[in-house]
C-alpha cells in the first residue's frame, strides 16, 4: 500500500504537531542560542583557585613590589604590593605589564645565533661554547652595556668583566648617571636620594619625578600624602621645565625654563639666597659666591632663561621661608642632562643646608657587594656611555672585540642613533641577553635570552631617587615559559667553566648571602613602620636578622634609614664657572612616558590604548608646540612638520599646546621602533635620533636634553 498525498500530509502534520509537544523545538532553539555565544576562537576564562604571590618589577625603573594574581597557579594579572614601601599598592603602566609581557610576541624563545644575516636557534651548550671561545680570543677587550647595575645580577656582570680584565662597564643613561658623576665632582660620598615625604617646599628642576623618573610611584605616594583629600596641603611643589608635563600638571606652579638653562635658573635662585645671607660649610664657598654674584644676577638670568626677575625672587623667597625645602635636579625626559646641571641644582640644597636632613637630600651608602671585584653602581653610572660610543664610532677609542648587552637597548635608546649604530657596527662580536627581539638584539651575533621577571630570581636595590636604602627580592612564580635562562646564572656557569669562578654557584645562593650580609647593617623590614616615618623621627622598629630571608620571600622590603656623612662636599665652583648654557632658536623637549614602556621593553601591548591620539595617530607621531612657536614657523594644528637635528630627521604632525614654552617642540619618546613586534613597530618615529649628543662645557659629559632642532 502506498502513501497517498493526503496520508503523507497527515503523517507529516501529525509529526509536526507532535514535535510541538516534545522538547525538540525549544531545546534546539535554546541550545542553538548558546552555541552561537560560544565560538571556539573566543578564549574561555581559567578555572581554578585564585591565589596571590609577591615579587618586584624589573621592567619598571621605579622598583615597585608586586602582588601577582594567579589562577590555577598561572599568573593572570598584577597589582602593586600594598606592603611594599616603593609601591604601597601603586604600580606604573610598565609594572602592570609584567604578567602579559611573558607572552609578548617579541619574546626571544630560544638562544639564537646570527648566520648569514638571519637568526637560527641553537642550544644553550652551543651558545656557551661559542661565547667562551670569543671571550678567550678577546682577552680583556670586552665591554658591557647594562640597563640594570644596581642589583646583585648587575654585580655578576661587573665582576665577570673585572675578572677578564676589562673596565669598560657602562650603564644606559638615565637620571642616576649625571647624579653620580655630579655628586662625585662635588666631593660627595654616597648616592643621592630625595626625602619628599618630609619636605614642605619642593622645587623640581626638570625631573619628571611623578611619571618616569626615579622611584616615581613612591614619589607620587609622597605627593599624595602631602595633600590629603579635602584637607589643606602640607607641602608646595613647583616644577621648572620646558613643558608642563605629567609632573608639572599636578604641581602648584610651573616655571617655564628650557632644559639647558635649568642650571642657570638654579644659580639665579642661588643669587637671591646668597644675598639673603645663606652660607654653606664648603671649602669653595667664597668662590661660589663670587661666581654667582658675577654671572647670575637677576637680569642676566632673566635674559637667558626668560624667567622674570619677580619669579626668581619669589622662588628664592619660598625656599628660604620653608622649614624643609628640597630641590630635585634632573632632565624632563629622564636622561640627557649633564653633571654640571645637576651640580647647579644641588648647590641650592647645599646653600639651604639640606644635606642629610629630613625632607632634604639623603646621601645613601651602597649595599655591600657579594661578588668580589664588582664595581659599585655609582662608579659604573658615572661613566659616559654616549661619549664612549661616539669615540668608538669616530675611531678615537678602540672598539672592544666583544660587547655584552644586558637589560638594555642602546641601538634605540641613545641619542644620535646614527652615530651610535655606527659605533656598534664596529664591534665584531656582540652578545645580547635581551628577553625581547629589540633593535640591539637584531644587530647582535648571539642572543641569549634572559628569563623575564616572573621567571627568575633577582633583586631590586635602592633605585635612584629613593631616600632610603632598600633590598627587595624578585622570585620566580612560573618556570620559564620558553627556552630562556637567568643571565646571571648563565654567566656564573660560564665563568666557572672558564676557570674564572666569581664566588657563587647561582644567583639564588648569592641573594641568600646578600640578605645575610645586609641583615647585619642596621636596617629593618618595612612592616609596621615605614622608612619615611623613621626619617621624620619615629623610632626605628626592632629587627630580627634571622627572619630576613623569610620576610623578603613574603614580598616585604628590607630598608635602611641612614646617610653617609659628608666630609668634603663642595660647590665644584670651578666646574660651575665653566658652564656655558647653549641658547638655540628652537629646542627639543622629550616627553618620556611610562605608557610607552622603556627602550628595553618596547610598547607593552596593553599600554597602547593609554597612548592618546594627540601623541600618535594612524602610525604618525604628533609633536607639541604652542601657538606662538607655530606661528613663527608657519604651522597650525595638524600641519605636517619635519624636525631635523644631529644629521637625522623625523616627520610628524603638529599639535598646538599652550603647555609647551615658546621656542620648544615637545616630542613623545618611545616610538619609532623597528624591532619587537606589531605592537611596537610602525608607530611614529624615534626622536632620540635627532637629539645631538654634545659635550657639556666644564664636565665634558655628553648631554642631549634640550638639544637644538630645526624645522625643515
Amino acid at each position: 500500500m502506498g502513501l497517498d498525498r493526503r496520508a503523507f500530509i497527515g503523517l507529516v502534520a501529525g509529526g509536526a504537531v507532535g514535535t510541538l509537544f516534545t522538547p525538540i523545538p525549544w531545546k534546539l532553539a535554546d541550545d542553538a542560542a548558546i552555541w552561537s555565544q560560544n565560538w571556539s576562537w573566543i578564549p574561555r576564562v581559567p578555572r581554578g583557585e585564585v591565589t596571590y604571590a609577591t615579587t618586584a618589577s624589573k621592567l619598571c625603573p621605579s622598583g615597585t613590589g608586586l602582588k601577582v594574581a594567579l589562577a590555577g597557579g598561572k599568573p593572570v594579572t598584577v597589582y602593586g604590593n600594598p606592603e611594599h614601601p616603593l609601591s604601597q599598592g601603586g604600580v606604573s603602566p610598565i609594572g602592570a605589564s609584567e604578567v602579559y609581557m611573558l607572552y609578548s610576541p617579541a619574546r626571544v624563545r630560544t638562544p639564537m645565533r646570527k648566520v648569514g644575516g638571519k637568526f637560527e636557534p641553537i642550544t644553550w651548550e652551543q651558545a656557551q661554547t661559542e661565547l667562551m671561545a670569543k671571550c678567550k680570543a678577546a682577552g680583556n677587550k670586552a665591554a658591557c652595556i647594562s640597563g640594570d647595575v644596581g642589583g646583585t645580577a648587575g654585580e655578576v656582570l661587573s665582576a665577570f668583566l673585572a675578572k677578564i680584565g676589562s673596565a669598560a662597564m657602562y650603564a644606559m643613561p638615565g637620571e642616576a648617571g649625571p647624579a653620580a658623576a655630579g655628586f662625585k665632582l662635588m666631593g660627595g660620598q654616597g648616592r643621592v636620594g630625595y626625602d619628599i615625604d618630609n619636605a614642605d617646599c619642593v622645587l623640581i628642576l626638570g625631573s619628571d619625578i611623578f611619571e618616569g623618573s626615579g622611584v616615581s610611584v613612591r614619589n607620587r605616594k609622597a605627593f599624595c600624602a602631602s595633600r590629603p583629600l579635602g584637607k589643606d596641603q602640607t607641602a608646595k611643589f613647583a616644577y621648572a621645565g620646558p613643558v608642563r608635563n605629567h609632573t608639572g600638571a599636578v604641581c602648584d606652579s610651573w616655571i617655564p625654563v628650557a632644559t639647558p638653562h635649568l642650571g642657570a635658573f638654579a644659580l639665579g635662585v642661588a643669587w637671591h639666597l646668597l644675598k639673603a645671607g645663606a652660607v654653606a660649610d664648603a671649602a669653595d664657598m667664597a668662590d661660589f659666591k663670587k661666581l654667582v654674584e658675577a654671572n647670575y644676577s637677576p637680569d642676566k638670568v632673566s635674559k637667558l632663561t626668560g624667567v622674570s626677575p619677580e619669579v626668581l625672587a619669589a622662588v628664592a623667597k619660598g625656599l628660604s621661608a620653608a622649614k624643609a625645602p628640597l630641590i630635585i635636579p634632573g632632565s624632563e625626559m629622564g636622561q640627557g642632562a649633564g653633571a654640571g646641571s645637576f651640580i647647579a641644582g644641588m648647590s641650592l640644597n647645599l646653600l639651604l643646608g639640606r644635606m642629610n636632613k629630613p625632607g632634604g637630600v639623603m646621601a645613601l651608602p651602597e649595599l655591600p657587594a657579594v661578588f668580589p671585584g664588582a664595581e659599585t653602581p655609582s662608579e659604573i653610572l658615572a661613566r659616559d656611555l654616549p661619549g664612549y660610543l661616539k669615540n668608538v664610532g669616530d675611531g678615537k677609542t678602540a672598539a672592544p672585540e666583544v660587547l655584552f648587552v644586558y637589560a638594555a637597548n642602546p641601538a634605540y635608546g641613545l641619542p644620535e642613533s646614527a652615530a651610535m649604530a655606527k659605533a656598534l657596527e664596529k664591534i665584531p662580536f656582540k652578545v645580547s641577553f635581551a628577553s625581547f627581539m629589540d633593535e640591539t638584539a637584531a644587530m647582535c651575533d648571539l642572543i641569549l635570552p634572559n628569563s623575564l621577571t616572573l621567571e627568575r630570581y633577582d633583586d631590586v636595590v635602592t633605585p635612584y631617587g629613593s631616600a632610603f636604602c632598600s633590598l627587595t627580592l624578585v622570585k620566580p612564580l612560573v618556570a620559564p615559559i620558553f627556552d630562556t635562562k637567568t643571565t646571571a646564572d648563565f654567566i656564573l656557569d660560564t665563568a666557572k667553566k672558564m676557570n674564572l669562578a666569581l664566588g657563587h654557584d647561582s644567583l639564588e645562593k648569592a641573594l641568600k648571602e646578600k640578605a645575610a650580609v645586609v641583615a647585619k647593617s642596621d636596617g629593618f623590614v618595612a612592616k609596621e613602620a615605614m622608612p619615611w616615618d623613621v626619617l621624620a623621627g619615629k623610632p626605628k622598629p626592632a629587627f630580627d636578622a634571622a627572619t630576613l630571608w623569610k620576610e623578603l620571600d613574603a614580598g616585604r622590603a628590607w630598608v635602611k634609614v641612614g646617610q653617609v656623612a659628608q666630609t668634603g662636599l663642595s660647590f665644584a665652583a670651578k666646574i660651575l664657572a665653566a658652564l656655558k648654557p647653549a641658547a638655540a632658536e628652537l629646542m627639543l623637549a622629550g616627553m618620556s612616558q611610562q605608557r610607552t614602556g622603556t627602550a628595553a621593553t618596547g610598547l607593552p601591548a596593553q599600554c597602547l590604548t593609554a597612548i592618546p591620539d594627540t601623541d600618535l595617530k594612524a602610525g604618525a607621531s604628533i609633536v607639541r608646540l604652542n601657538a606662538a612657536t607655530a606661528k613663527k614657523y608657519g604651522l597650525s594644528q595638524g600641519s605636517g612638520v619635519t624636525l631635523s637635528g644631529a644629521g637625522g630627521s623625523c616627520p610628524a604632525k603638529a599639535h598646538i599646546s599652550e603647555n609647551v614654552m615658546t621656542g620648544v617642540v615637545a616630542v613623545p619618546l618611545g616610538f619609532g621602533h623597528t624591532a619587537f613586534d606589531a605592537f611596537s613597530k610602525g608607530k611614529g618615529d624615534n626622536f632620540l635620533k635627532i637629539m645631538a649628543a654634545t659635550p657639556e662645557a666644564g664636565t665634558d659629559m655628553t648631554v642631549w636634553a634640550g638639544s637644538e632642532v630645526k624645522i625643515a
Partner: protein
C-alpha cells in the same frame, strides 16, 4: 526595566581627585588586564578601542604661560538615574542590585548600541572585533570577567567581581557581607593608581572615606544638571576644571 530614580541601601561610589591625577594611564592598563580586554595593535583609532576607564586631558584654554593642564579619568558613572537602562530593548542592562552598579549582561545584548547613544558620558564601548590575544597571552585571562565576542556593548562595572570576592571572604570569616569595612572592596583602577588619586566605597556609609569626600565643597559630578545622579564624584580646587564638568555659560557659576 527600571523607571526613573533608584535608591538602594548601599551606594558604591568613586571619588577622583583631579588635582592629583598625573595622567599616567596605569588605571587604564589595570582595568584592561583585570577585565580581559584584548590588546589591539592599532589603538590610536579611539572609535574602535575598548577603554572602560579612559583618561582625558583637560586644558584651561589660556595661552602660554598661563596654560594649565589636568587629567580626568572617566569610568562608568553608575548613574542613579541611568539614561542607558530605559532604552535597552532586551534588558541587557539594568540597575536592580543593591549597591547601584548598572549591570551589563553580554549574552543578552544584541548590539543595537542604543545605550551608547543614550549615555552622555561615552562610558560604553562596542566590541567591533572579536577579542584576539597574541598566541599564549590568552593564558593571562583572569577568571573575573567573561570574555565577550564581537557585537556586544561593554562598560565598567566597578570591578563587581571584587565585591563578590569581598563578600565571600566576609562570609568565610563569619562577618556580615552586607557591611563591608572601608577598603575591603576596591576596584583595580583605584588599587593600582600610583598617586592614590582615587577613593572608593559606600557613599551612604559614614565609616567609608568617600562619604565625607563626596560631600566636600570641592566635589562635583559631571553633567549634574542632566539629572543622571552619577555615583562618581570628582574633586578639584581649581575653578577652571570644575567648569568643564558641565556646559556652563560664560557668566554662570560652576
Amino acid at each position: 526595566m527600571s523607571a526613573a530614580h533608584q535608591e538602594f541601601a548601599t551606594k558604591w561610589g568613586l571619588v577622583i581627585d583631579i588635582d592629583k591625577c598625573t595622567g599616567c594611564g596605569a588605571c587604564m592598563v589595570a582595568c584592561q588586564t583585570e577585565n580581559n580586554i584584548a590588546p589591539e595593535e592599532d589603538a590610536s583609532n579611539k572609535l574602535r578601542t575598548l577603554t572602560w576607564m579612559n583618561v582625558y586631558e583637560l586644558k584651561n584654554g589660556k595661552e602660554f604661560p598661563q596654560a594649565e593642564v589636568a587629567f580626568l579619568p572617566r569610568a562608568c558613572m553608575q548613574c542613579g538615574n541611568p539614561s542607558c537602562v530605559p532604552v535597552c530593548p532586551v534588558v541587557a542592562t539594568d540597575k536592580n542590585e543593591d549597591g547601584g552598579i548598572v549591570s551589563q549582561i553580554y549574552p543578552r545584548c544584541i548590539g543595537c548600541r542604543y545605550c551608547m547613544a543614550a549615555c552622555p558620558y561615552h562610558s560604553r564601548y562596542f566590541g567591533w572585533f572579536d577579542p584576539v590575544w597574541p598566541d599564549g597571552m590568552e593564558k593571562t585571562i583572569t577568571p573575573f570577567t567573561s570574555t565577550r565576542p564581537r557585537g556586544v556593548v561593554e562598560k565598567c562595572h566597578f570591578c563587581h567581581h571584587r565585591w563578590n570576592q569581598a563578600k565571600d571572604a566576609a562570609r568565610i570569616a563569619g562577618k556580615d557581607p552586607s557591611n563591608l569595612p572601608d577598603g575591603a572592596y576596591t576596584p583595580a583602577c583605584v588599587e593600582i593608581c600610583p598617586t592614590g588619586a582615587m577613593a572608593f566605597g559606600d557613599l551612604k556609609n559614614p565609616k567609608h572615606k568617600v562619604y565625607e569626600l563626596s560631600r566636600s565643597k570641592y566635589a562635583f559630578r559631571l553633567l549634574e544638571r542632566l539629572n543622571t545622579d552619577p555615583q562618581v564624584y570628582y574633586m578639584t580646587k581649581r575653578d577652571w576644571v570644575r567648569r568643564q564638568g558641565d556646559n556652563y555659560l560664560p557668566n554662570e557659576k560652576a
